[in-house]
Structures are given as structure tokens and as C-alpha cells.
Amino acid sequence: MDERPRNRRQWSDSALLSAIAARDGAAFGVFYRRHLPAVLAFLIRETRDPEAAADLAAEVFAAVLLSSGRYQAQGDSATPWVLGIARNKLLMSFRRGRVEARARHRLGFHAIALDEGDLDRIEEVARSERGELVALVDDLPEDERIAVRSRVLEERPYREIATELRCSELVIRKRVSRGLARMRDQLKETGSA
């Protein structure tokens, strides 16, 4: 018997991804809206181009759909996983000089044109979300901020971070976990999650 709440917004990322893998479109919608701000903020920050960021965000979530069946929960949040995909897509785009589109092509995703209104909204969202995300990270206690940046965005090994900061890996893991939880709580409080 399924004991999950009826409201998918209360589902964990892991539960949503399992449902997505089983063709639950509503679950995809919840997951998309939950993670779009962070993905968009990350991509806007890196590209400083709302058109490229929007294009890449679509590719990231297409890849999420393709990979949903293989997701293995490593914690409460799939944010590191999604941002990892975003980073890979972004950097492969850098490498190729073109925006990644492979996942969308594989799914049969039809191209969607961007108009000026879209760009205005994306820029607006990007400004707010980017500012919010940056503020959220910057508002973290210093030890958590460094740990989150090093592990989640730079994907450095725990041991390497621990060596640099002269503490144990366990301490770094706890700082990352606490930092992500704090950011997630902040996003929920502001209604973005």
C-alpha cells in the first residue's frame, strides 16, 4: 500500500523521481518547479545569458527525465544530483561551443522558441533567484558555505576538502548536509521550493 501523501509537493525528491520513472507526469511537474529556480540561478550565474540558461535548463530537465530510473538517493535532497547534471551539461556546452541538446533530441522534445517576453521573465526570475541563491549561500555560516561550494558546486572529493580545511571528512559531510538543509528550509520559507 502506498503510504505517500496524496499531495506530491510533500513527496521527497527520491519519491518524485521514482514516480517520474513510472510515467507520473504530475510528479515531474512538482520536481521541475521545485528545482527549476536553483538550476536556472546556477546556469544564469555561469552563463550570464538568460537565453542560454533557459535552453540549458530545458536540457537539464530532459536529462533528469531520462535518468530518473537510475537515481539513487544519497540524502534528503536531489539538488546535488540535479546541479551535477546542470554542471555537466553546461561544461559540455562550453567544450563544444553549443548548448547541449542531446537529451531533448533523444526524447523527441520539440524546439520551443523564446520571445522577448520569455526573456524578460527569465531575467526577472534569474535576478530574483540568483540573488536569492547567492544570498542563501552567502548567508550560510562560513564553514557550511565553504563546504557547500566545494562539494556541491565544485564537486571536490570530501577528503580533499577535509585536507584543505584541516578537519575530518565526517565534519565536512556534516557541514554540507547542514548547509543544504538550511538552504532548502530558507527556500521553503520564501515559497520558492
Binding site: T47, E51, F61, L91, G97, L114, I122, V152, E155, P157
Partner: protein
Amino acid sequence: MNDYLDKVEAQLTELTEKGAHQRRRVRRGARAGAPPPRSRGLAAGGGGRGPRPRRPGGPRRLSEVLAFLAAAAVVAAVVGIVLVNAHSSGKPQAVSSSAAAGERSKTSSTAATHPRATTTTSTTSTVAASTPKPGQFYPQSFTAISELTWWVLGLAQCPGSTTHGPCGKIMLTTDGGQHFTSVNAPSAAFSSQPNQPGYSQLRFADSENGFAFGPNLYATHDGGQTWNQVTIGGSVSDLAISDGEAYAIVDVSGSGAAGARLMHSPVSADDWTVLGAAGDVSVGLWVQGSNVLVQSGVGNGIGSDLLVSYDSGASFQSYPSPGAGLGCQYAEPEPPVVWAHCATGTESGVWRSTDNGQNFTSAEPSGTLSLPNSAAFAAASVDTAVVGYQQLYRTEDDGNAYAKVGPPQVSAWAFLGFTDDTHGIGLGYTGPVSALNEHLYYTTDGGQSYHLVPIP
């Protein structure tokens, strides 16, 4: 629901409900057990490329934006993440023996006679600012043609200098690491970053023919006495050797072409030509007899397909890669078993195929390994593999269970490889991850234990 972001959501939601993400697997499953079609090749550069959404009234050239951003150091980081796992390997070539070449054929490979030329990429450590100590040798890349004959490319102080460095140095052993002698290295810089000219990796096909590469290509045909730079039209990111043929992933994007291409040449001649049937390729090169495996680069980056050739690259079949658009490292210790170690976002995973890569299943118990994308991986045999970053894990039952192995003094592993079922090497760091903390380790029991190999 009427702006771009909402339309994306709506379309992906619809695709979710239609099961678009599952169709590929169904088709793949339907092919299981069927003999691989041999005649269908991929059109060069074909597939995966389609119109990109543009806003009306003045699309910007994203390539300009991205090209500018490509200069960011983060690119080097991700390329490192991908390439550090993208080692390739060819089977060892038992010194110009035609009989030995026969043994290397796909059909005659057996567990006892499939020695593989184990090779490694350089590490991604930044070494430019590091100066080797006088008389010290810091291994960075390894290649072998048998369990006894290896070459190790490492960093050393530049000849005649007490302050400059590092320079590349090549050491050869013919007795399994008991004694080493120095071999001439190319007269070029050791490349410590992907975009620095020079070389960073080493492959030998036999006692005469070898290649130093990454990003430039250098070849020797006299056992390293002399080296010549080979003009190949791009940057070489990987190179593998089998059956007297060298295969290379060459990024020709800098010359205006679409992306990386697969090229090949007889090992005894510098006659490189494009294997057009592969189209765009990216990472994960592995060659074994006439089998060639490489991950596609169709589209705009690392493709989601594994390209497999059974005829030395003349034609390729396309199968879904476990990586789903992220980089994989492949190993085919004995056909039809193929191991794959792939990035999945923030962590890597291990998969295994028993039908030449057509279908992959997870080869790690859920939640057991939890390794970063930069973890090292090597397959010793069809059922045994070793994987790890800080801690090594070894399976001998097709990936159903893993046991912790490895020497405790190693803080992280940069590379793992096997020359046969039992003999293999690892490049591991002691202390902080730095090129000057890298050491060579040897295993003679299929990865159950590793022992430090001192190199003078």
C-alpha cells in the same frame, strides 16, 4: 502555462506520461539476444543535431558567449573529471609476432591469454607550479605490453636544471618492476593542463612503436630512441592500441569541424585517417581485437550512446550508454562482457553488459560504493573489477558484492588497470592530491592487494 519555462514543463510532463524516457530501453531489450547487425554503420556526424530554439527578432550567438566562458578554469576541471576516467587500453602485442597477433583476435581471447596493454591518462593535478626534487621520479602515466614489460611516464627535474621543471621522463622495466632503465622522451613539454601543448600520456604497442600524447601527438618507431611530432589536425585526448592499430580520439573542433573524431593508424606508420563511421565521439575509448568501443559525441557534448564496432572501426552499432549523456569508461576484458564506469551527476556508477554493450545492468549493490565521478576503475576479468577513489572496492562476482581492498597509505587513486586477470597497477596519492605525491602500485592477485613499486 504560456511562457517558455512553462512550455518546457508541459512538454516534458507529456513526454513523461508517454513514457518517452522508457522507449529506448524497450527497444534495447527487444534486441537482446539477437546477433548484432554488422552492416549498419553510422553516418559521419549524423544524428542528434537539430534546430535549437531561437527567439524571434535577433538570436544571439551562443557560441560566442560560450566560447568566451570556455576559457574558465572550470572547463579544465570538468574535462579532467571526464577524462580521468577515460583511460583506454589495447591488448599487449607480444613483440612483432604474427602468432601473438592471432592470439589477440576476438575469437581466440581467453581468460588466460588476453593480456591487455594497460594504460592510463595523466592525472588532473596541477603540476605547473610544482618542481620535482632532484633525482625523484613521479609517475603519471603507465603502459604495458605484458605483465613484465612496462613503460612509465613521469615527472622529473629537467636535465641540466636545478630550478626548472617538471619535464617528462620515461622509465622502462622488462622484469615486472624490479629494475628500470631510462628511455628517451619526446623533446617537448610535459603538459600539465589539457590546453597546454606537449604530452601527458603514454602508450606502447610493442617494443618499438609507441605514442606520447595529450594534447599533441608524438610517435616513436625505434623503442623510444627518437620521437617525432605527428600532425593529426587536432588535440588527442585518448589513444588505444590493438592488433597493430592505434586509435585516437582527436578533438578537431579548434579547426572548425564539428567535434572529436575517431582516427586510426597502423602503429608502425604515422598514417592517421578518420574512421568516419563513428561520427562524433567523445570519451571512453577501448579497443580489444577488432572490437572498438567509444562513447558518442553526437549532438553537443558527450552523447548518450555507446558506439561499438566489431570490424576495427569500419562500421559501428549504437547502443544506449549507461551514462545517459555523461562520460563513461569502458572495459571489455573478454567479449562479450563489457564493464562500464560512468558519471551520473554527482556520483559514479558501475554497470556490466554480457552482450557486447547492447544492454547494461547495474553492477553495484544500491548505496554501497557512493563514489565521486573521478573514481578510478579497472576490470580484471569478466567477473572481477576494482573501483575506488579514497577507498578501493573489489568485486569478484560480477558486481553483486564488493569488499574493501588496497593499501591504507594511499589517500586517493588516480588510475587503475590490469594487464591480465591477476596482474595490474594503480597510481595512487599519498597525502594531498598532487602530482608530486603520486606513486605506482602493483597487484599480482587481481587487485586483492597492491604493493608500492619504487622507481629510481
